[in-house]
Amino acid sequence: MKSSPGLHLKTFILIVLLVIFSPLGNVLLSKGMKNVGAVSMSAPGELISVFMQVFTSGFIWLGIGCLLLFFVAYLLVLSWADYSYVQPASSISYGVVAVLGHFFLHEQVTPTRWAGILVICLGVFVVGHTPPRTTEHN
């Protein structure tokens, strides 16, 4: 079996879950990290206090929870569909994260950046319309 309606429906449902949980998780992490403040790679001594702040933040834990749900759905879909199909198809979430960031975190998004996000989604659309499996399983 290379491809079937059932396989497509199953793939579609899991991709919808990916598109919900991933952006939500990222927006929650962003909210948490805004409270922690800028982390620098050149100041490793500060990392312990940063870790403490990060892992006592409710937003970070909520974000991690959403990303874990995303990860489970991702693992399941990867057991039958190609990685180079799933990754682009699920990545409509790049558009969703921009919308969530704009409305919930009140981030300023310039018209050029919106255009960029739109082009990314268009690229995703093009890539998403290819068969979910190109290799045969043993």
């Binding site: 693992l75 057991s79 180079s84 994260v97 981030e107 300023q108 255009a115 960029g116 890539v127 290799t135």
Partner: protein, 125 residues
């Protein structure tokens, strides 16, 4: 702006390599057809016995901390779209590492994504 570049590079490279390792591990397990919780737990335990899965989880954990670092400096509406660069890395890796077929159409989509990421970069205030 330069401060977040190392974090962004780590997210794309480590994240994509991690996902490829996880994909390879899941492919070795075979298609999941039973979605009852007990069966899913068995799938997870089976996945945990595959070396590629641990390699993937380690790389994805590194990417996660890099994501936290980037989000502490820049907005999520910038960081997440820029990480779409992993499309290019993913399509290339899927082809080389997993032997997946990548059509011209997919490559065109990847190209569009790269153009979009460039616009997001240019649109940074």
């Amino acid at each position: 702006m330069a401060r977040e570049i190392p974090f962004l590079l780590l997210i794309v490279l480590s994240g994509t390599s991690g996902e490829l390792c996880v994909a390879r591990a899941m492919k070795s397990i075979g298609e999941v057809t039973d979605f009852r919780p007990a069966s899913l737990i068995r799938v997870i335990f089976r996945a945990m016995r595959v070396g590629w899965m641990w390699m993937g989880i380690t790389l994805m954990a590194i990417a996660f901390f890099a994501l936290l670092g980037a989000l502490s400096i820049e907005n999520v509406t910038f960081v997440v779209p820029v990480t779409a660069l992993s499309y290019a890395a993913g399509a290339l890796g899927g082809k080389i590492f997993l032997g997946e077929g990548v059509s011209r159409r997919r490559w065109f989509g990847v190209l569009l994504v790269c153009v979009g990421v460039t616009l997001v970069f240019i649109g940074q205030k």
